[in-house]
């Protein structure tokens, strides 16, 4: 069935949905029953020809395919016949009317019950939403990840992120890569200077400053040097042009 003559676009939503159907007849039947296509748009003769060709191609008549086909074709013929005959619009009998309204009433009552149950579930959800489960413990100590995901999981995840619609209006690469504020604490710098001294012995102040990446960091470095001098943890040596800090051994 490479070239069906009926149009399915916009009726079938996804490829997955198509997979529920084996062959075009089952699909047509379903669409007809949902009133999504009109029976008069379906040319039975064309479908039959195509389907027979398809069966021929299979050379050997598979009994299961054939019986299913016959079941579907007969149903389709029934629907089409009913449509052709009903042009004379014989009014439904009183019994038929009563039966169908009973069925509709049953459906409506059932649906009302379901709506009530949905409310109940909503309340349950409030309770259950707080439970967190934990991932299973890995069997071995190797922490490398070994679960095999279908790659669609990634697509789903990124769509979940994107569809939350909480993205800021514009994300320019600059904003993304440039941290807005870099807080350098003096105590952090003090530690860094001391550890530099531990590994290198002496360090020139020029070097400490040029290693700093921003104005705030330079200021923090400078204050840290002053603090350390005051505490007696370091001493300044070297020339005025090139002062060098050296650890006092504390």
């Amino acid at each position: 069935m490479e070239t069906p003559t009926f149009k399915l676009e916009g009726i079938v939503k996804s490829k997955d949905e198509m997979e529920d159907f084996e062959g075009p007849l089952a699909l047509i039947l379903l669409l007809l029953s949902k009133n999504k296509i009109e029976i008069r748009d379906v040319q039975i003769s064309v479908i039959l020809e195509q389907y027979l060709e398809y069966l021929d191609e299979m050379k050997r008549m598979d009994l299961e395919i054939a019986s299913e086909f016959i079941a579907m074709a007969s149903h389709l013929t029934y629907i089409k016949a009913k449509m052709l005959l009903s042009s004379d619009e014989e009014p439904p009998s009183e019994l038929e009317t009563l039966m169908s309204s009973l069925e509709e009433l049953r459906r409506r009552d059932l649906y009302a019950g379901i709506k009530f149950a949905a409310e109940y579930l909503r309340a349950c959800r409030e309770r259950g939403i707080g439970y967190f489960t934990k991932p299973p413990e890995p069997l071995d100590t190797d922490r490398c990840y070994s679960y095999i995901h279908p790659k669609e999981d990634l697509e789903k995840a990124i769509l979940a992120v994107l569809s939350r619609g909480e993205l800021e209006a514009e994300i320019s690469p600059e904003i993304l890569t440039m941290p807005q504020k870099i807080p350098y604490s003096v105590s952090q710098k003090t530690e860094e200077i001391l550890s530099a001294l531990r590994s290198r012995g002496t360090v020139s102040i020029r070097r400490l400053l040029t290693e700093s990446q921003s104005r705030t960091e330079i200021i923090a470095t400078f204050v840290a040097v002053l603090e350390l001098c005051k505490m007696g943890s370091i001493i300044l040596v070297g020339s005025d042009e090139n002062p060098v800090v050296s650890a006092t051994g504390i």
């Binding site: 939503k13 949905e17 529920d20 159907f21 084996e22 089952a26 699909l27 039947l29 379903l30 949902k34 299913e68 079941a71 579907m72 009183e94 019994l95 009563l98 039966m99 309204s101 009973l102 009433l105 049953r106 459906r107 009552d109 059932l110 649906y111 009302a112 019950g113 379901i114 709506k115 009530f116 149950a117 949905a118 409310e119 109940y120 579930l121 909503r122 349950c124 959800r125 309770r127 259950g128 939403i129 707080g130 439970y131 967190f132 489960t133 934990k134 991932p135 299973p136 413990e137 789903k156």
Partner: protein
């Protein structure tokens, strides 16, 4: 195995599993009676709740699972950088209710009760892990049938599907009874007429 040790083993097993574990499976491995395991689980669950601990033991049909206590949900969410799951829509709750009550059930059945196409919602509930396909009906078209998952029970705080309230008995509602009577009367009348004609 002593009672205390049994509870500890149960705790260790459920902790390591993370996921729901069948009571039968635990009973087999521990070489103990199923009822004994079930009782130990009940005691453990009571202890957690009574001592207001950070974890809870929940029963899901025939399985057991450890989870965190709901009181700490917000804190945990903040530590784990997780987002609060979005509220389920009215549509989603209705479809979920139909599947929960009538499982295993096809999408067509759901649509018949709701009277509208529900494929989008069924798909999204499946994505959320609240329902799962469990085979296909042996009728032309071989439609998929769905059921609810253990994650559904857990995220609605239910122990079992039986905890859902009974659907109201509509068979004997006034409207339905009236219609049924009318139909019976009509059938009788027709039969009598046929009988008259034949006799």
């Amino acid at each position: 195995m002593q009672i205390k040790e049994l509870e500890a083993a149960l705790e260790g097993i459920l902790f390591a599993a993370g996921e729901p574990v069948q009571i039968n499976r635990i009973a087999d491995v521990l070489g103990q009676d199923r009822q004994l395991i079930s009782d130990a689980a009940d005691r453990l669950a009571d202890t957690y709740a009574f001592e207001r601990r950070g974890i809870r033991l929940i029963k899901l049909e025939n399985s057991l699972q450890l989870c965190s206590s709901p009181e700490f949900a917000d804190l945990i969410r903040r530590v784990l950088e997780a987002r609060k799951p979005p509220q389920l829509s009215q549509t989603a709750l209705e479809v979920l209710a139909i599947i929960a009550y009538f499982q295993p059930v096809t999408r067509a059945h759901v649509e018949k009760i709701r009277g509208v196409d529900s494929s989008y919602t069924v798909g999204s509930l499946e994505d959320k892990g609240l329902i799962e396909p469990c085979g296909r009906l042996k009728v032309p078209g071989r439609p998929t049938v769905y059921r609810t998952t253990p994650a559904f029970l857990r995220s609605f705080g239910l122990k079992s599907i039986d905890e859902l309230p009974m659907l109201p008995e509509t068979e004997k509602s006034e409207g339905q009874l009236e219609l049924q009577d009318a139909i019976s009367a009509l059938i009788e009348q027709e039969e009598t007429q046929c009988g008259d004609l034949l006799s």
